[in-house]
Amino acid sequence: MAKRRKAPRKAQQAAAAAVSKPAAASNPFERLHSRKKFAILGKRAKGEQRPSGKLRSEAVEKREKTLLVEYKQLRKANAFIDRRFGEDDDTLTAEEKAVARFQKERMKAIGGDRFALGDGEGEELTHLGRFLSEGGLGEAPESSDSDEDGGALDDAVVREFHFGGGFVRKEGAADVSAGSTGAEQDPERRRTKKEVMEEVMAKSKAARSAKREQRAEDLDATDALDAQFAALVAQGGLADLVRPKGSRRDRVAAAAAAAAQAAEDIVFDRARRELVFEAKATVGDRTHTAEELAEAEAQRLQALEAARQRRMRAAPAGVGGDDPDDDCEAAGDKDAAAPAGGYAARRHKRRRAEAAGPSGDALEDDFEVSDGDRGGSGDGSGSEDGEDEDTDEDGGAATGLQARQAARAAGAHPLQQSLRAASAALLRKYGAGAAGGGAGARGAELGSSDAVKASLAALPYLLGLPASYEEFAALVAGRPAEELSAAMGRMRACNAAALSADNRRRLQEFYGVLVQHFALRAGARPLPLDELDVLTVHLLALTPEVPVYAATVARARLQRLLDRLAAALRGSPADGASAWPGARGLLLLKLWATLFPASDRRHAVLTPAALVAGACLALCPLARASDVAQGLFLASLALHLTAPAQRLAPEALTFAVFGKAAALPELLAPAMSALRALGAAGLPQALETQRRGALAALEAAAAARIAARRPLQRRGATSAALARAPAAKMYNPRFEEDYAAGRDNDPDRERAEQRRLKRQLQKEKRGAMRELRKDAVFIGGVRQAEAAAAAAELRGTRRANFAILEQQEADARSGGQGGMFKSRKRGHK
């Protein structure tokens, strides 16, 4: 233990001595250190060992210099201020003090006139780094002065020497200066021309000899290589690198034999040979995009319309070709690719004329010019423009025109009839392939009679979308379902969303028109179910194109239904109006159930629709027979809405839906009791049989469910998980990134600042009090020392006085012998 303690102390002392010898702990108390035993967070950690003893002595020294001085000056009127050199600085030695004093003395002596020039000793003017008194500087001008042509030389002198010669640039100045400086610095390096030439010649000689040596070496190396090669050839080492003549056939045979031995090679060869017979991949038709399909459909309709117009206006015999199929197709294809004008248009026109025969265009033009009411198409620029405008007029609800068309369509000319039949067949043919035309084709299939085909043909093929419902109603009023379907199909095909950016918005309007038409027709009596069917088909096809708009329309109608229901329920029952939604509402609900997926858990349309149906079922009173029918239909509709996802609709307690519901027996209890009660009512035979059957089915289902179900268990909570002991609670440690001890984390910064200032004030106050206390102790010590000194002095004086007195007394007693009685002394001993 002692050893361990000793060693560091020794080391410390040594270190201290090494650092500074005079500071090496003259005061043994200054070695005192307060050593830290524990690391405490938040404690001052700067300098692990505080030299407390040293600090204490420093504090005492400081007080001696300040407080003690003041104390000594206390109650004194004058003060002695020592202005002597170094008297207030203890670090200076006496010698240094003397030096400083001497320096000051000297400074005072020479510091009289700062700008006075000296008497010339040691101070001399210079030019170009040379003293003016040196001879070299003045020689050149003097020598030039003595020359005859002094003017030119004067110039040179001025250029060379005046103002240091630095202002005028001289040619060869660098050489001169280099030469001059070189001469000044090292006179040995200046060589004569001969020396230089000799050196150059020596150098070239050495280079030539080196080149010669190199050439000789190269020659030697080549000779050596030649000798080696000859030796190699002589030994036959290169024989295998060279193919001798006539050895080729043998090598192929050997390779074939080796390949035959390798089994995998055989397989590979077979595969390679088989590949020859395999069918090569051919380029198929590209899959068409939706836009292309829509474009094709629109073009097909355009062609058909053109053909129809032509047929309509054409002379009855021999015009328009015997083969309408080919004609239409050809016309359609060519129209699609027709250029707008110029030479290309002319070429195109000629080609067309050649293909169609001598009849086509001329007749068309004649007819158009002769037809009075088609003023817009008289420009003769081409048939297509006129056709387009015609179509627009057709779309614009010209019912008179339609009537004329119908009248023409009713014409019983055999050629006309055959044309129509052919066009219908064409429609069917295309309808099977194209998406948009499917409905029209289906319409044609449904009504297979000739009359239907005739009226179908009477509809214009190019139909614009109606701008308002009135327009649409005027177009389709009085038409059978097949024509309605065809009209809608053509409208959709001509204005497919893929054809133009604007079409989507117009399709939305069209969708609203269709829904309105549906609602109006659903309210009609007798119910035109076939029209509703075709409307459903087209709405079904149209809804995916404008889903959000469809939902918005449906929601607006649902809101209206809801408002109507609320108003009807609020009104008194005596009003007569039934609260039930009526055929229109019911069929609209069914339409939405068809258009949107009923299996979604939450759907923008069907969820409110189901709520509306439920509200009707739960709240509407049954006042008459029609109400019962509506209620039953709504119950079926609720079933229809909830069946796909097996949801629970308490309003329409129907059996088939809830096959998997856990609470099936409880759900069915009211229905079962109602059925049992009905048994007592005495029903007709057929109903009684049905009742028995239903009751038996219900009871069987309830019993099966009871047998199948188990007490509930929470999802995810298995028995194993429950059996496990509860896990110990874990608390996540909370780390503060910028933690600082003692920092106030008060979110109110102002309050925190206030508190900090208060703390600081307290600290300062404590420090001041501590200082004052220590000052008092110090002054107390000084006073005590003074008192002790005074007492000691007093004591000393007293002792001296007593000594004198005793001396005198002794002298008196001894009779002036001064205590030098021998006898007494002896006697004493």
Binding site: T536, L540, A615, L648, P650
Partner: protein, 476 residues
């Protein structure tokens, strides 16, 4: 003429003795029915006094007759003010209760008394303490008499309806200021509540009873009879009466052990259809918020609410499920309704005969456990055996067609014993819900995307063959 009458009256007031004959003129004008002069007995002054007394009585009767007889409202109001003046002036410094009572009864019992009279009485005179006190006395007496009459003739008298209505208007907590007033006020209320009240007034009384009446009564426990009778009516009346009883139990020390039984009986499917269902379920929530309800009772309530949710409209189902959730969270012992840990496989019973008498219940809880032992018709929660059951109803409601209902059921999947991660469902936003509000919330919901139906083979008709199964019985 009126001028001369007023002159006569003023002269009479200034010098009653010398102008005594003016009184005869005035009385003749007020009471046109002439009276036969009585035989003169004794001296003239006594005769005069008797005559004057008769005339005075006749005047009072005439004034009451004016009010009860349905004169013009202004005349009725004047008659009332005259009567009240007479009440004040009859005996100086005293309240003439004998004059006041018949006058007030005339006002109260008459069906022709104008509303202005009532309001004038309330505004002008009821501020006086003596009027107030005697009014309450008269009210108590009148109510007691009506109740007795009603008891005698079992069918309620139609003439009492307006009276009851007016008494209800008089009932004001301000009347019970000091102890005498309070006593009179309590007596009047108790007498009133003993009367057979019509439905609307009954509901009004019940709504205000616990807040405005009960705290001010001398002895609130006397209301118990009234409240238990009201409880038998069921519906919202029953729930309101239960609120009164709840106040009595919690504040006034009433013992009512059948409280939760009665509450249990009030929960019927009809409650979801009622117009005031919000208030009804609000009160039910107040009653069921206690954590000291025994677990079997809470389980019975949870089961009852679950059963109701099966057949209730979506808004009602939401409320019911919220009730179930809150009940299960308040009573962790009811957790078995949602999660019944499987029993450890019982060792084979060595004595099968001992198993036999356990009977049906054991068989039910045995292999399948699918039989619901909950007795729905039992009136007492203790007898319903709900704690042995499971909430299969909620499992079915997961598939409710209304997505909000299905979502609320999903909340019950959490472990309700975990107090930190679960919170009670706030009933307040759910209570006013209806079909219209739910449908409106769905209709105004923002559309993120609208899926459309997809068919492998698109239907060609509105009522297609594919949906024929759903539309069974309809010729498609």
């Amino acid at each position: 003429m009126t001028r001369s009458f007023s002159d006569l009256g003023e002269a009479l007031l200034q010098d009653p003795v010398s102008n005594a004959n003016n009184a005869a003129h005035l009385l003749a004008a007020v009471c046109p029915c002439g009276e036969a002069p009585a035989p003169v007995v004794g001296d003239a002054e006594a005769t005069y006094r008797q005559w004057l007394l008769r005339q005075y009585t006749a005047l009072l009767a005439r004034l009451r007759g004016l009010i009860a007889g349905g004169a013009l409202p202004i005349v009725q109001t004047r008659a009332l003010s005259t009567l009240m003046d007479l009440v004040r002036a009859e005996w100086p410094g005293e309240f003439a209760a004998a004059t006041f009572s018949p006058a007030l009864e005339a006002v109260l019992r008459s069906r022709k008394a104008a509303p202005e009279v009532i309001s004038a009485f309330l505004n002008k005179y009821l501020a006086y303490a003596d009027v107030r006190y005697h009014t309450l006395k008269v009210l108590a007496k009148a109510a007691a008499r009506s109740a007795a009459e009603a008891a005698a003739s079992s069918d309620s008298d139609a003439a009492e309806q307006p009276e009851a209505g007016r008494q209800d208007m008089v009932s004001d907590a301000d009347l019970a200021r000091n102890v005498y007033d309070r006593r009179a006020w309590s007596g009047a209320w108790l007498a009133l509540l003993r009367m057979p009240l019509p439905d609307d007034i009954f509901r009004k009384v019940l709504v205000r009873l616990h807040a405005d009446v009960l705290p001010h009564l001398i002895n609130p426990l006397l209301l118990t009879d009234f409240l238990t009778n009201a409880l038998d009516r069921g519906g919202l009346n029953g729930m309101l009466a239960l609120h009164g009883i709840f106040t009595l139990v919690t504040r006034h020390g009433l013992e009512y052990p059948r409280f939760y039984e009665r509450l249990y009986q009030l929960l019927t499917p009809a409650a979801f259809q009622a117009r005031q269902r919000a208030r009804f379920f609000e009160l039910a929530d107040v009653f069921l918020s206690s954590g000291l309800v025994p677990a079997y009772t809470a389980a019975a309530f949870a089961k009852r609410f679950a059963r109701l949710a099966l057949t209730a409209p979506p808004a009602g189902a939401l409320v019911s499920i919220a009730f179930v959730h809150n009940l299960l969270r308040r009573h962790p012992a009811c957790g078995v309704l949602l999660h019944r840990p499987p029993r450890p496989a019982a060792p084979a019973d060595p004595n099968p005969a001992s198993c036999a008498p356990a009977g049906e219940a054991d068989a039910a809880a045995g292999p399948g456990g699918g039989v619901d032992v909950y007795v729905e018709v039992a009136p007492d929660p203790a007898l319903s055996r709900a704690i042995e059951s499971s909430l299969w109803e909620l499992d079915s409601l997961r598939n409710h067609y209304c997505p909000q209902v299905a979502a609320v059921v999903g909340v019950l999947d959490k472990d309700l014993a975990d107090r930190k991660r679960t919170a009670e469902i706030d009933l307040a936003p759910l209570l006013p819900g209806s079909y219209a509000s739910l449908a409106n919330s769905e209709l105004t919901r923002r559309m993120k995307r609208v899926p459309t139906a997809f068919y492998a083979e698109p239907p060609r008709r509105l009522l297609d063959v594919n949906c024929a199964a759903d539309f069974a019985g309809w010729a498609i």
